[in-house]
């Protein structure tokens, strides 16, 4: 959930509005939004919803027509804009690396502006290069020599250089191809988990927002806030037709992608017995579960399964089990589980955690989650 009291709030937007000169409608109209410290909030919406305008009002690239914005309790207009911006990391879609400076010089921009000494800057640059996965050889090259993905990494490193508590990002991964984008998204997610920065992230891609955000703010044209909540919650209960529409099709599946298997209610033991059990026990279990196969365990480890007809009178230990094609860990998503269920012969997904069998999920168990 969001911040409970003001001291946990990093950014507060109070009745913020923006009307551009000559425009007939406001770009942003009366927006209230709170972002907690360490929270990753995504701003999503169609063109014209004011998400980028809103972002740019936080660091005063655009000045609001009315309302106020507080960062860590202080009004943003209290300090000169250039001072404010030195404590906020800013990453834009086209990156805007300074072409006449080397990568190292680009990254060192804000620390240099703040007067850090050369040694400290050098250390920090090396640290950041490692953090964002940049080859140190690149540091003395110029931006023109780097690929799109590499440039984006430099953009992120540059924003993090002075270790700002807040990061503003405007479609930062939009200008690269889908494969690179996926990689950058996952890397940034991992980075964010390590650093715990407060991030406000603008994107038009709802799937990106669902993947990355702790909370998602869905904006409608004119900066109207339609829903602001955790992605899984929004997917389960869209506030209105607009949100439902915007989330796109396969909402159920998208939600499943967010839910880990380990927390699924529908997990159960299923037709699995230890190899030391006697064959009669196995037959009984198969009958109870109405299956024609049985899974075998040895010391808690899942060996595989055998066809029901193979179970005779001899010990189960003598049977040769066939391994399950797919097993999932507890942190796999329910969507992967669904995929496993659909593609497996037995129509089940076996959950194994650190080698030990946890339980299984079948179609019924998974659909319980969707309809919750």
């Amino acid at each position: 959930m969001g911040p409970q009291d003001l001291t946990d709030t990093m950014i507060r937007l109070e009745k913020v509005a923006k009307v551009f000169p000559g425009a007939s409608r406001p770009a942003v109209d009366d927006l209230d939004l709170d972002v907690g410290k360490g929270e990753f909030v995504t701003l999503v919406g169609p063109s014209g919803c004011g998400k980028t305008t809103t972002l740019k009002m936080i660091n005063r690239i655009i000045e609001p027509s009315s309302g106020r914005i507080l960062i860590d309790g202080a009004d943003v207009v209290a300090v000169p804009p250039h001072e404010l911006r030195r404590s906020i990391g800013y990453v834009i879609q086209q990156v805007g690396l300074f072409p006449h400076r080397t990568i190292a010089q680009n990254i060192a921009t804000v620390p240099a502006l703040m007067g850090w000494d050369a040694g400290r800057i050098k250390e920090r640059i090396e640290q950041l290069a490692a953090l964002v996965g940049l080859d140190p050889e690149m540091l003395d090259r110029y931006p023109a020599a780097l690929s799109g993905g590499q440039q984006q990494r430099v953009g992120v490193a540059r924003a993090l250089a002075a270790d700002p508590p807040l990061l503003l990002m405007d479609e930062p991964f939009g200008a690269v191809d889908p494969i690179v984008r996926k990689r950058l998204q996952h890397e940034f997610q991992a980075l964010q988990q390590r650093l715990g920065k407060t991030v406000v992230f603008v994107t038009h891609d709802v799937d990106e927002a669902i993947l990355l955000g702790d909370r998602m703010a869905i904006l409608n044209v004119g900066g109207v806030l339609e829903q602001f909540d955790e992605p899984a919650t929004i997917l389960a209960n869209p506030a209105n037709a607009f949100v439902e529409d915007f989330l796109g099709g396969e909402r159920g599946l998208k939600r499943l992608a967010l839910l880990p298997v380990g927390e699924a209610q529908g997990i159960r033991w299923g037709p699995v017995v230890d190899v030391s059990a006697n064959p009669e026990e196995a037959k009984r279990v198969m009958e109870e579960e109405s299956t024609d196969w049985i899974g075998l365990l040895e010391e808690g480890r899942l060996l595989g399964w055998v066809d029901g007809s193979a179970v005779g009178t001899g010990p189960l230990r003598d049977l040769v089990p066939r391994p399950f094609l797919v097993t999932l860990g507890s942190d796999a998503s329910l969507r992967s589980a669904l995929d496993a269920v659909v593609t497996s012969h037995a129509r089940v997904a076996m959950v194994v955690d650190q080698g030990l069998y946890r339980g299984m999920l079948d179609l019924e168990g998974i659909s319980e989650e969707i309809t919750e």
Binding site: R86, I92, Q93, G96, R141, A144
Partner: protein
């Protein structure tokens, strides 16, 4: 009347007149340098005006373009009743011819700085002033230098025409040679003019490259 053919190149003459050649070299260089420098200063001022009031670009281009269209001989002539037949006349005219090209390149250079770079600079926390001197100017410099290069080479050519004002630099030799049918002088004048223009051209090309190391790096 047929002209008598004199040998094409009289090396003796060249050797004997080295002093004059050096004097004219100095004259040619100084006329060029002063005119381009003056042109640069005036263009800086006019560019500042254009950047501040966008609408002035069209009229300013119009006027400098008009000046550029007037043939040099005519401009020198028109200035005679105003300043006489002297170096001032030459410099005023030569400077006028540089304005169009320098201003156009200055404005293009500054406008050519990519928008994301400026936005990123703002976002990092550069003040307006710092942004201008440390982002816009360095990035606009290559284009500005290119303009100076073209202006300089063009001016070297135009200086030859100032011979009618009694100056001329190397043009002095061309005019004298024409009037006395002395081919050596003509060839010396033309050749040295081309050499000077080429040297300055290469110098500016080098300068442009030196000031923009980032444009050199291959991918």
């Amino acid at each position: 009347m047929m002209a008598q053919a004199s040998p094409l190149i009289d090396w003796q003459w060249i050797w004997r007149n080295m002093g004059e050649i050096l004097d004219r070299t100095w004259q040619h260089l100084s006329l060029t340098a002063v005119s381009v420098a003056l042109g640069l200063v005036i263009s800086l001022g006019l560019t500042a005006v254009v950047l501040r009031w966008r609408r002035t670009y069209t009229p300013i281009t119009w006027v400098t373009g008009l000046l550029y269209t007037i043939p040099s001989l005519a401009l020198f002539a028109l200035l005679v009743p105003i300043v006489g037949l002297n170096a001032t006349n030459a410099v005023i005219a030569l400077t006028s011819y540089t304005l169009l090209i320098i201003i156009r390149n200055m404005v293009a250079g500054i406008n050519g700085v990519p928008e994301p770079v400026l936005e990123a600079a703002d976002g990092m926390g550069y003040t307006r002033r710092a942004r201008f001197w440390r982002m816009e100017i360095p990035l606009a410099l290559p284009v500005i230098i290119a303009g100076l290069r073209i202006a300089t080479v063009t001016t070297v050519g135009l200086v030859t025409v100032t011979a009618v004002l009694g100056l001329g630099g190397y043009g002095y030799f061309i005019l004298r040679g024409l009037n006395t049918f002395f081919w050596t002088q003509i060839l010396v004048g033309v050749t040295l003019s081309v050499v000077l223009a080429t040297i300055l051209d290469l110098a500016f090309i080098w300068l442009q490259s030196a000031l923009s190391p980032w444009a050199r790096s291959p991918k």
